[in-house]
Symmetry: C2
Subunit: 638 residues, 2 copies
């Protein structure tokens, strides 16, 4: 043994850090885990200010170093995503039951804002289907977009404004932590459910229906489709299916040959243009194929005067604002991060929130509705080889040209083409494999995912989301309520002690029971931990032969990250119970926070410093002398 014959290693009983010190470090870990200010340390003031500006406006970090070589890439990427932005803008605007032009507006201003404040190089700004539908469903309940489009639009802008405020606030308050509670399982389920109902809703466009429901659950959507059977138009359906097949084919091509990603990237704009030409020459509207209708020229009008804070609608707009803020952040940040990981760059979630927030606040002043970093667009941007946020600027410029000159041309876009575009986009969001993977690997995660999916599909998007999150949090609580403890045995020819269940070859130590406690030890799991320890002892005494009953119990706290008062009281109770049984208790390797708590609560004095050890091996050495059967012990301790 490495410490054979040596003195036992000293445990650090240094006096605990002061409250402020401990509190500061906790606060830092909670709110600044990524230590955003590490660059500011011991730098002259000028550098500090420069860094600060660069920190809040990353554009000043990359623009100076910007050159034409980089621009070539960004130009290509920018044009590509612009070609995606036009059809998506129009379609998702329809999804939110607002005029298509708003969709185009939303791809002009926000990208410029993001280019200034955004920290991700690959993120492409745009509207997203899920949030568009969320807005439509929440605000649609209060005001009908058909009967009162003006008021409806006002509320949409207001909701966007709230979204922006909430995102900015969260960013400044470093509340990225809240977004962490949207687990991958939740998002998978939520996205899948949303995609499903969005696809169903597109059947409206596919079949060229005039009347439809504002509800979003499967039942009422299906009902709306079949109850309006008489409105079905085969012409529309045929055209739609042709477009859909084409789009899916391009996706297939991309999957087969990733280098041909641009095929699927430009496919939507191709569909729109062919759709327009077809509609224009074939007078499609006469054959029951509806078209988008007039789109005025000109750039975003101001909409700051349209913000509507009438308390009557406040609840709805706020609800929409909060929920979409969460969803948009979850999608935007997750995506920005995942691409950054690929390129091994860092994305500051909280900084991103602030960028998104500004984006939506200013957007709501300039006739834009909710924008974030949509997955499809960002992926295209990434594949198109963008190098900086400049690609967003390029896109914005293209949108400017479109708004100034081309907008009217798009007025011929057949709705069915848009439906096809949305459907094919959504079909990509239903991740069967991932759900199956969850099922294979973690049943509980699978439940969370399914609750999200069916909740969204059959009740409503927000309720579905909340149910799924609630379930996930319940699990989080169960985790902390039942931390795994295990019995350790010594691994032959080593000073290692491991879980006997995991390593059956381990041998127990006569007279000594070694337990590893789970983490953290605090009020929700104290009763459990005590019961469990008592049970270990009971079982042990039952199993061991009469000769050698337990004289010592070692509690390995090495894995315990924190403990609270109730936890300490539990340890004391265990101590009493053991003393009553005539068993000595020793602690092994309490970590910093735990040791501090044990010292201030006088527990260390209670148990005695001589009974706290740095390693199990030391502890056993410490106990062995007092053991009745040190003979047996010697045998195993070679």
């Amino acid at each position: 043994m490495e410490t054979q014959g040596e003195s036992i290693h000293k445990v650090n009983f240094a006096t605990p850090r002061g409250f402020t010190t401990a509190f500061k470090s906790d606060l830092k870990e909670t709110l600044f885990p990524d230590d955003p200010f590490h660059e500011f340390k011991n730098k002259p003031f000028s550098t500090k200010t420069k860094k600060a500006i660069q920190y809040f406006m990353p554009i000043f970090e990359w623009l100076p170093k910007y050159n034409f070589r980089l621009f070539k890439y960004d130009l290509l990427a920018g044009i590509t995503i612009a070609s995606l932005a036009i059809p998506q803008g129009i379609s998702y605007a329809k999804l939110a039951n607002i005029s298509p032009i708003i969709g185009l507006y939303s791809s002009f201003v926000p990208p410029l804002i993001y280019a200034i404040f955004g920290s991700s190089k690959h993120l492409a700004v745009g509207t997203v289907a899920a949030c568009s539908l969320l807005i439509a469903s929440i605000i649609g309940e209060k005001v009908s977009p058909i009967e009162n489009p003006e008021l409806y639009l006002q509320l949409v802008f207001t909701a966007t404004f709230f979204t922006g405020i909430i995102q900015t606030a969260m960013g400044f308050l470093r509340l990225g932590i809240i977004v962490d509670f949207l687990s991958h399982s939740t998002i998978t389920g939520f996205m899948g459910g949303t995609a499903t109902i969005i696809c169903l809703q597109q059947l409206k466009g596919m079949f060229g229906l005039k009347h439809f429901t504002t509800k979003t659950d499967v039942i009422s959507v299906l009902h709306a489709i079949f109850s309006n059977r008489h409105e079905w138009r085969w012409e529309s359906a045929v055209v739609g299916i042709i477009f859909l097949v084409f789009l899916q084919f391009t996706r297939y091509v991309k999957q087969k040959k990733p280098k041909l990603f641009w095929v699927s990237a430009i496919a939507p704009i191709v569909v729109v243009i062919t759709g327009c030409l077809f509609a224009y020459f074939a007078h499609a509207e006469k054959h029951g194929i509806q078209i988008v209708g007039d789109l005025k020229k000109g750039i975003n009008p101001l909409s700051i005067n349209k913000l509507n804070f009438d308390p009557k609608y406040m609840s709805a707009t706020l609800q929409a604002g909060i929920i979409t803020a969460m969803v948009a952040l979850a999608e935007g940040i997750a995506i920005g991060r995942s691409f950054a990981i690929m390129k091994n760059e860092q994305v500051d979630g909280n900084k991103e929130m602030i960028a998104f927030g500004f984006m939506n606040i200013i957007g709501s002043f300039t006739s834009c509705y909710l924008t974030t970093g949509p997955f499809s667009k960002t992926a295209v941007n990434f594949n198109a080889g963008c190098k900086t946020a400049m690609s967003n600027v390029v896109m914005a410029f293209c949108m400017l040209l479109t708004l100034l000159f081309l907008a009217p041309l798009f007025s011929y876009t057949p709705l069915v083409a848009l439906s096809a575009i949305i459907m094919s986009a959504m079909l990509g969001l239903i991740e069967y494999e991932k759900a199956y993977h969850l099922f294979k690997t973690d049943k509980y995660d699978f439940c969370i995912c399914m609750v999200g999916f069916f909740g969204v599909a059959f009740i409503s998007m927000d309720i579905g989301l909340m149910l799924s999150v609630g379930l996930a949090i319940l699990r989080a609580l169960l985790y902390v309520a039942r931390p795994a403890t295990c019995k350790l045995g010594s691994i032959p020819d080593s000073a290692l002690y491991r879980d006997v269940e995991q390593y059956p070859e381990t041998s127990g130590v006569p007279g000594i029971l070694v337990l590893q406690l789970g983490s953290p030890i605090f009020f929700p799991n104290c009763t459990y931990i005590r019961e469990r320890i008592l049970r270990w002892v009971r079982d042990e005494q039952a199993n061991r032969d009469e000769g050698s009953d337990i004289e010592h119990i070692l509690l390995d706290l090495g894995g315990v990250t924190s403990i609270d008062i109730t936890g300490v009281e539990t340890l004391i109770e265990v101590l009493k119970a053991m003393e009553a049984k005539g068993i000595k208790v020793a602690l092994v390797n309490p970590r910093l926070e735990v040791m501090e708590k044990l010292i201030v609560t006088k527990f260390i004095d209670r148990i005695g410093k001589e009974n706290v050890f740095l390693s199990i091996d030391d502890a056993i050495k410490g106990c062995r002398f007092t053991l009745k059967h040190s003979k047996q012990f010697a045998d195993i301790n070679v």
Copy 2:
């Protein structure tokens, strides 16, 4: 080093347990932590059934072995707690705004039920102040006890019935876990706040007021007292203060000389009797000292027909039922446990719940309101040397005699005497020292406590309780959202690696960064853990001299009890990020559950079995060969 020259220890990559196996063990840990069936294992059927009956009706376990020697103790204890039960019964009934006789009834039937089903030897059954007031405040909002006493009484019984149902259900569903979420801090704060407002309410009795408020918050209670200044009667106040001083003095005596506990135990009945005599001979009621008023002879009438399930009041009764159920359980179980600990016996929380449940269901059929194991009574019972639940039977018998013959005598009890009894009992529940202890040891626990206290005192009992629990749960979530990770260094002359912050004498290992991850790793903390690891690496690269940059990073998972999909994905992301930096990642000692998850998610295949080690020491040996500067390494590795 212990494994110098030896082959590195093998890690167990056994194929994971099947879902059912894992699920079963999880379920067992969650719902049966105390393994209640351990006695049933491999026993013949006859024994099993016997054990089963004994399990559900502990009386069959101790009664057969019962003898006269034990009975002597129980008889004394029983009489003592009966002498406490009479005044407490009457006073707390007044607190719940119901007829005093109900209080006496409640000390007759429930103790008998508990004697059959209860598993604690020391617990004495009775009514409690907190719950009495809770019921009064919740039901009082719906129905006024003065204007409509009959309906009010019905609702009290109904609430009691619900309490019983809930407790029983929780017991059978093994939901003791819910009670675990009432932390000591919460209970301290809640009890303190309750005691405070109860004391204030007693001023009504003290000053002999006729009119008062049904509200329970400090403001309205104080207002009610001073707005009725004209009703104050000095006679009443004088008598009250004399009684109070006497009671407090006996408590003081008990604290000084624990052997004289019986002095404070019988003090209440003494107060009541002297009060009665005084009131009878001095015609106290003529001098503004109100008395209890007529108490009819006879035992509990049936009240099953009084249960009122009118949906109009359902919400109130249910709310009262649920909240009081929680509070009563928290008090009852906590107390039962703490006394069992002293005597080193085991109390099964879930079994206790069932016992309490039956107690209250049958109670609600027989004109009893909510009963549980009150602290004061149980302590007295314990001190009086009770040996089995028989003491409850004795108490019930005494109550029987009282109801049959003595009840009318108590009708002369002055209200002021009862107020004095309640006040002195409550003063004992305000634990300043404990609050101060919390302040010294854990600021956050102190906040939870204070929120409970002020919430109860200034808003309302249920809201105060919920706020406090909510805050506690928020903390639980923060715990899991920010598990402490730390950097490990090697302790000189040993194979031990410990937190460098805690053990400054440790030396880093050139070229290798060793991190210990917190537990558990799952969705709420994944982002944090990734950010944190990246930060460790960044700081490390910044600090280390140019010569030796990091080539390996070891993640010590020894303390990680569980991991979910999101967690595994995070590890993969870390892996990618490190590979991009040209740093190799190795895992150390993943525990059973973690290893299983890593295997099914194919993570092990991704990282390679050769990069998973059983101990940090092994891992470093494994890495060293590939290290550029094994020279440096050799230096520290003597």
